[in-house]
Symmetry: none
DNA sequence: CATGAATGAGGATTCATTCAT
DNA sequence: CATGAATGAATCCTCATTCAT
């Protein structure tokens, strides 16, 4: 099936980026990782390298968004949701480090903030919290960017040290942003 | 003079990375940007592409460190120094956006956190502040990573939107980390 | 077919080395000789220049060994075999001058005596002849080296003067080594 | 003095060829070996790379010829002179291995038999010996080529194994050619 | 004479993509 | 669909040579 092959190639791309780095993730290396005998097959299934990379980002971000959203909807109230967002992010980053890193690398290279959607939703959550009086007054866009950046920082840390204690990160960061956001 | 040409090439590399992205910053493009007649001249002045990239990072980080350090030594006390650190970072990022972005891109590609030294020094400052009672108890390494990450986030934001109001960022982030760190 | 192209490239490499010399046998020149549209095709079929050169040596030496061996097994007794070896060498060198020269040039450049196997087998033949009393006592390794060197000399001569009378060489050298080796 | 610098460069070229091989003996490496700070100096003193290489051959061959000639003129009679020739060759090759190898490599690459003069003189000696009845009848050019080739073979052997027992080679080869050439 | 910077051609190799089978 | 061969541009780097100082 069309979809199965595409998925296989996307997974191989993720692994290759994780293993060799984005710059060395050529069609040849991806094909080898996927066990394909020709790079032509990648070109057949994707319109170009950019489309493959876009698909990697799309796939990973969809999983990521689903994971995070599930954790957030289980909570009520902006403060609890923010905490759930942070916890879910760290957990996903820890569990699916390579996938998220691949997506982040691609997004960065394209100068396109892949997590932009994310940041917009986060800012909205913060604004709601401000209206509810749970959060103090601050620039919601800046705070959202800050949260997103710190979580990216955790991911970068995990890239270097995969065995880092993510539980510790979770607690520290949840506390950090609770203090930074809570209303007077 | 040897140094002059090297500097010229380093500057051209920075501009090229800023304009075209790291992946497209080939010797050919750098040479064109620098107005050189041959890529051979780059190879003459640098042992290899890695050496050029390392030099870019070295040069930019030295400027950056000098700028930040000057602002910090003008202050007394960990809390004031942390604020100065944040202010100086945002200001430098705003003024020398392309330079800092080039260094950051290179550092990321090498999976080597170029700003590692930075983070270590920052963590030390935080620990001093904790001993002085100015800061609450938290994991200094995690907090340092968070500060660093948020400042990288500002830079990324400036990459997309060079005209963003960095004054606003400065105030917001200074407040953010003041709240996140201050002692009981 | 994979093999056909590889052979074509190997043959083009041999011709190019013969025509232009090893030092000028670049992928570009080999591709032109082979009528290929890109040097990339050579890289596609061979892992690197070394592999191509190794293949040239391998192919030529295999032909050479087969030719010589056939002539030797038709004879009985060390003295007759030695003569057959010399005759076969000169004949092959005369018929396939450029092929043998290419292999020899490559082997020399690598400081690896490609004909080493040859020399070992030859020394063994000489030792057998000594045990049979057909040959006088001498250092078999030195004598083998001498035989091999003289035959290389013939090849070098043919490189300069392709129309040299190899029949004359054959007789002269067969006699030379008969006198040099025969038992008392 | 002009000559001193030229000599220095020639010596550096010889060392570089011996150490790195002819193919890697670039002006840059030769200059580094010579302790020069610019390849420009080589170009200043030599009209081109070919001239430098020719000079290497010329210098080494002159030393070589002088050494051999001295040993030969000390003897009387073609047979004794031939033996002296062989002895002197092996001795020089053993003592000045790298120098002779450099010259031989260059000569081979140029498809120019550098030792051609040598061979002509040798053939003449052999013809004289035939007229005197000291040598049997054989093709003097072929025999000269054979002697020359075997001595090149010794040099090649020394290239691979510098500590080979050249005394053994000397005796074996002197005997070999005595048997091969002596009259009835 | 000597230096070191500059030049431009040429080196092998990798790349994404195309196409016939 | 899948293969593997082919293409040609682009990669970094090395080279001999030239030239101003």
């Amino acid at each position: 099936m069309r979809t199965a092959r595409r998925s296989q190639i996307v997974e191989a791309a993720i692994d290759t980026i994780a293993t060799e780095g984005l710059a060395r993730a050529s069609f040849a290396r991806i094909a080898r990782t996927a066990g394909l005998s020709s790079t032509g097959l990648i070109s057949y299934h994707f319109a170009g390298k950019q489309e493959l990379m876009d698909e990697v980002v799309r796939v990973v971000l969809a999983e990521f968004a689903a994971f995070v959203e599930e954790r957030m909807t289980a909570e009520t109230g902006p403060a609890a949701e923010l905490r759930a967002f942070i916890v879910a992010n760290v957990e996903f980053a820890s569990k699916h480090r390579t996938r998220l890193l691949a997506a982040l690398d691609i997004a960065r290279a394209g100068r396109a903030p892949a997590f932009g959607v994310d940041v917009a939703g986060l800012a909205e959550l913060l604004r709601v919290g401000q209206r509810y009086g749970e959060f103090r007054f601050f620039d919601a866009d800046v705070m959202a960017m800050a949260v997103r950046s710190v979580l990216d920082g955790v991911l970068n840390r995990l890239a270097v040290d995969p065995d880092a204690d993510h539980g510790a990160y979770t607690e520290e960061l949840a506390t950090l942003f609770e203090l930074a956001t809570r209303g007077a």
